[in-house]
């Protein structure tokens, strides 16, 4: 395309992105008058999606395309992690240019982000770390590199629990650490890494506290708000985010005393599968509009970010870096691994802990992995007599009506089951 | 002149007088000094003859000992000092082979668990001298199975003099807190000589090792005398060396005082006290152990292991570069 036209297209897309952000905010901030006051911080953070390239500040930025990249290492180098994953339909369409027709929406959105904001990102990003998790992200390495970005493929093993996988992944992370040091020009010391690990651990502690609010019946926070809060973690400063969540938790404690709940009487849903990402939270929004409340989730843009915690045996790099590496591999329930057993067990444990009434399993069309795992997960829920709804969708707003209908039917069936029981 | 010696009845008369004088005169020079009295283990049927040492670890319930020399006077006294300090009288049997002393040592942890000390005292007047000979014997009545609870009980571990013993030799370095004999060749032992419970100065003490080496000393003011045991176990071949080889040594003390008195119808002007005590010793640990060897082995092992680990870690830093192929057809 001629440079002119490309530029015009880009401007259009940016405007559409901004519009999507505003629309989501409308559904969450404005329609949700009963939201806790502390949510305002997170709405403001979300507003930044109107111009995502502005998310980067003074420090060197390391972009990541998956949650497998150890954030602690990036933070220890004094850099800022930026997750390229997003849920914008506009960016998805922009990215379609680089990918086959049946590609995953998320990878298309990443490519869209890279292409639409290319100049801004080129001047800010020091490195793009792409973990070789699923096929499409792995092939995207070269495509991203075409955009004159420095890309570093982080090798993820196809197994989780074998000894070879453990060694392979630890060495991959060690190599990443050395690369990050070189790129940022800052040495990773035990002190800095300890500080970074502690920051992320504090965030994890606050997240767990928040998650426990959802175990309550009825939950104290709506699923939409939960998604917005966790989404903030992807591109906000860790310490500021932690402090804001702490404030939110305090307020929710108060609200518990006052008896202010979210989703009273609504069926409790567990959302699992492909991650809903900013600025388009189509499925969670529609689901909650249909009368359900999402109390738990198993997606890599929400609870999986901070579910697990690092423990260091000895306060030296030879132990801390493998510790950080292990935390990102071993408990990971991503479907890229050959065994989905840990994911199924985690889902069942979540169902138990959050007293879930039904499960919505969403998958992006183009994501073979989540679709293939659906069989095994479905078995588990059928045996446990938990109703599960499988939804295949992408970022486009065209199937909103269809989804709404299906969600409403699902909610109905759950409610009638509850009445029968 | 020839007439005097040829007078036969006069010669016969003079010979008779000479013989009478020879018989009637007591000869001090011909009757020897009395030997010290010793006690030895009585051979007990199955378990071998003389020279067999009492076992320190396998106790027996009846202890029997034989006196080394026959007593001439029939007045024999014997005492057994038990571990709890009480004194009892053992049984004395006069048999064809000699005099045997025996006493019971019941099993088990209790007042009988520990060191039993046997005293045999023989007195008699000979040549105007009262000979008081004491033979002493320590027996360790112990089994490890009864426990070592008395380890820190000084009354049990340390031996005390007996007031009724005319002369005795005491040594507190024979056994350790676990009632195991600890005397090794090369050790310097300190002995103390007591007479009726009071330290005796000026007594002559002689230590004789199992192979005949001996040393003399005279006790000091407080009755002490010390000896260093000789190292005398050098078997021809290394294979014959037995680190538990036991050898007996004996310590004898003698002391004489001037005193008039009468004993068993005989008068005496001097009293000679003799005391004896045997014990065993084993080869010194220094003879067969070597700390240099041990430490060398330890340090060399550490150095090699540390070097090995260091080299291993260094080599793992560099990824492998070479693949070697087997060229055999």
């Amino acid at each position: 395309m001629e440079p002119d036209r490309t530029e015009r297209l880009r401007r259009t897309l940016k405007k559409r992105l901004a519009a999507e952000t505003r629309e989501t905010l409308q559904w969450t901030e404005q329609r949700n008058t009963g939201s806790p006051k502390a949510m305002r911080y997170f709405y403001d953070v979300f507003r930044r999606w109107e111009d995502p390239a502005a998310l980067v500040g003074d420090k060197p930025v390391i972009a990541t395309s998956c949650m497998q990249v150890p954030l602690e290492l990036i933070l220890a180098c004094g850099a800022v992690p930026l997750r390229l994953c997003n849920g914008s339909h506009a960016l998805e369409q922009a990215g379609s240019e680089f990918l086959p027709a049946k590609a995953c929406s998320l990878v298309r959105a990443i490519m869209g982000m890279i292409s639409v904001f290319r100049e801004r990102l080129q001047e800010r990003l020091s490195l793009v770390v792409v973990p070789t998790t699923c096929d499409q992200k792995r092939k995207a390495v070269e495509t991203i590199a075409e955009g004159a970005f420095k890309v570093y493929p982080l090798e993820v093993p196809p197994s989780k629990h074998t000894e070879e996988a453990e060694v392979y992944w630890r060495n991959a992370v060690k190599k990443l650490a050395l690369t990050l040091e070189k790129v940022t020009g800052t040495r990773i010391t035990a002190g800095r890494l300890g500080g970074a690990v502690n920051d992320v651990r504090q965030a994890s502690a606050q997240y767990r506290r928040l998650s426990r609010m959802q175990q309550h019946d009825p939950p104290l926070l709506s699923g939409k708000d939960m998604f917005l809060v966790m989404n903030g973690f992807l591109f906000d400063d860790v310490n500021q985010w932690t402090a804001a969540v702490a404030r939110l938790n305090d307020e929710l404690d108060e609200r518990k005393q006052q008896g202010l709940f979210a989703g009273k009487g609504a069926p409790r849903i567990l959302l699992t599968g492909s991650p809903p990402l900013a600025p388009g939270f189509k499925v969670p929004l529609l689901l909650e509009e249909a009368g359900a409340v999402i109390v738990a989730d198993e997606v890599c843009s929400c609870s999986r970010l901070l579910d697990d915690a690092v423990v260091c045996g000895e306060p030296k790099l030879y132990d801390m870096i493998p510790a950080v590496a292990d935390r990102y591999l071993k408990p990971c329930t991503c479907p890229i691994f050959d065994s989905g057993e840990d994911r199924r067990r985690k889902l069942m444990e979540s169902v138990r802990r959050f007293d879930v009434d039904g499960v919505v399993y969403q998958s992006y069309s183009g994501c073979q992995l989540y679709q293939m795992e659906q069989r095994g997960v479905g078995h588990v829920f059928r045996e446990a007599d938990i109703p599960m709804l499988f939804v295949e969708t992408d970022y486009s707003p065209e199937d909103r009506g269809q989804l709404s209908t299906r969600f409403e039917a699902f909610v109905e069936s759950i409610q009638s089951r509850k009445r029968r029981i | 002149m020839t007439g005097t010696l040829r007078n036969f009845p006069q010669k016969r008369y003079m010979l008779a007088v000479l013989i009478l004088v020879a018989v009637a005169t007591p000869s001090y020079a011909r009757i020897p000094d009395l030997e010290p009295l010793y006690l030895t283990e009585a051979p007990a049927g199955k378990r071998g003859g003389p020279g067999q040492f009492e076992s320190e670890h396998r106790p027996i319930s009846l202890r029997r000992y034989r006196l080394s020399a026959s007593t001439l006077y029939g007045s024999l006294q014997a005492f057994v000092r038990r571990p709890d300090g009480t004194v009892t009288v053992p049984q004395i049997e006069k048999e064809k082979e000699g005099v045997t002393v025996s006493f019971q040592t019941p099993f088990g942890d209790g007042p009988m668990h520990g060191i039993h000390t046997l005293y045999v005292i023989d007195q008699g007047v000979e040549n105007g001298r009262l000979w008081v000979r004491t033979a002493k014997w320590h027996t360790v009545h112990h089994s490890c199975g009864w426990g070592h609870g008395y380890k820190y009980d000084k009354d049990r571990i340390l031996t005390e003099p007996l007031d009724a013993a005319p002369l005795e030799i005491l040594c507190r370095e024979f056994w350790d807190g676990n009632f195991h004999s600890k005397v090794q060749s090369g050790d310097r032992l300190q002995f103390r000589v007591f007479s009726y419970g009071v330290p005796a100065a000026g007594a002559e003490v002689r230590l004789t090792s199992g192979r005949g080496w001996s040393r003399r000393a005279v006790t000091a003011e407080d009755g002490t005398a010390s000896f260093q045991l000789i190292r005398d176990y050098y078997p021809e071949r290394w294979q014959d060396f037995d680190r538990r080889h036991r050898e007996r040594f004996t310590v004898v003390a003698e002391s004489e005082i001037q005193r008039q008195g009468r004993f068993s119808g005989k008068d005496y002007g001097r009293i000679r006290y003799i005391a004896s005590i045997p014990w065993t010793y084993t080869p010194s640990r220094k003879e067969y152990t070597s700390s240099i060897f041990g430490l060398s082995i330890g340090f060399i092992t550490m150095a090699l292991a540390a070097a090995g680990i260091y080299v291993y870690r260094e080599r793992r830093m560099r990824p492998y570069r070479e693949v070697a192929f087997n060229e055999k057809d």
Binding site: A309, V311, G313, P315, R345, K346 | A306
Partner: protein, 329 residues
């Protein structure tokens, strides 16, 4: 009550264990000087070769009792062996394998050596899975040998001639406890090689080699010796009956592997096994570092007779982590 429980669950068990180890060390190495005697059935190393020890490790009497003719062993005297084992069992079941983690002085020494290594910034070593599986069998082999070899002294086993008496405590000759623990009472005599016979030469030389390996091994691998310890093997035989229990709720486990990371022994099963309830394996020394490292609520629990003493809690995990961070460890 709940608050007290939460307080305990947030405690740093490693620090508590550090102090308990110091006290145990004092009691077991120096207790004899205060006339403390915990007996001869202790399920931990308390070396009888160290004068002044406060008790004796059970392996010592076990080896002595195995030195018996088979007829006697299967007859009346075998009761002694059984009662000894019974005494050991009674001592053992109270603390289960935490005798290893909290009380053993040799374990304490290894932990102190580890602290030195961490201070020096030297990386630790861990066994690969295959090596781990192969090496863990050695402790059972040692346990079998320490019973068979003394048995071979009084009996002719497998058609072999009877072994010499120098094999009486074969494990003690090889154990690093015999060489290292007496050093703390100032006795370096055990570091020597005993040349009195071929057997003792080989055994004591082996002992010094093991000592050298012990120090280097404990420096690079946490609790190196405990992997090969026959006492650990003997304890594991009875571990299922222990009153102190370490249990896991497999459903809550996310397989994050934190427990395996911090485990000194490197036991993978704590993380990998999600079926078993009792998670004490034969190498486990029940130091409970795994419980402290688990962020999942009530996944790992330490209980005594049903009452929970220590459990993995979210709150505890995060509190401990931030405390460590503040301390700079």
């Amino acid at each position: 009550m709940k608050k007290i429980k939460r307080f305990f669950y947030s405690a740093d068990i490693d620090r508590f264990r550090f102090y308990v180890q110091i006290i145990s060390f004092g009691v077991l190495i120096y207790g004899g000087c205060l006339a403390l005697d915990l007996g001869t059935h202790l399920p931990t190393f308390a070396c009888p070769f160290a004068a002044g020890a406060g008790g004796t490790c059970y392996l010592f009497p076990l080896q002595h009792q195995a030195n018996m003719p088979l007829r006697q062993l299967l007859g009346g005297r075998g009761i002694g062996l059984l009662s000894g084992l019974g005494g050991f069992f009674l001592f053992f079941i109270f603390f289960n394998k935490s005798w290893c983690g909290f009380i053993c002085p040799l374990g304490a020494i290894q932990d102190w050596i580890t602290r030195l290594r961490v201070r020096a910034g030297i990386r630790y070593s861990m066994y690969s899975k295959a090596t781990f599986q192969r090496l863990k069998k050695i402790k059972y082999l040692l346990l079998i040998l320490l019973v068979l070899l003394p048995l071979g002294i009084s009996n002719s086993l497998f058609g072999l001639p009877r072994l010499s008496h120098d094999f009486a405590t074969p494990y003690c000759m090889a154990c690093p406890g015999r060489t290292v623990l007496p050093l703390f009472s100032g006795d370096a005599g055990q570091l020597a090689v005993d040349f009195s016979s071929a057997t003792t030469t080989v055994l004591t030389a082996l002992g010094m080699t093991v000592t050298g390996l012990f120090f280097v091994g404990a420096f690079v691998k946490r609790r190196f010796f405990c992997f090969f310890c026959p006492m650990s093997a003997l304890q594991y035989l009875f571990s299922k009956a222990g009153l102190l229990r370490l249990t896991k709720d497999g459903g809550k486990c996310t397989r994050c592997g934190n427990c395996y990371r911090v485990c000194d022994m490197g036991i993978r099963e704590i993380a990998e096994d999600i079926e078993s309830r009792n998670i004490v394996k034969d190498d486990c020394m029940m130091c409970f570092k795994c419980v402290a490292a688990c962020p999942e609520e009530n996944c790992l629990k330490v209980s005594f007779l049903g009452a929970t003493l220590y459990a993995a809690t979210e709150e505890g995990f995060f509190k401990r982590s931030s405390r460590e961070e503040k301390r700079g460890t």
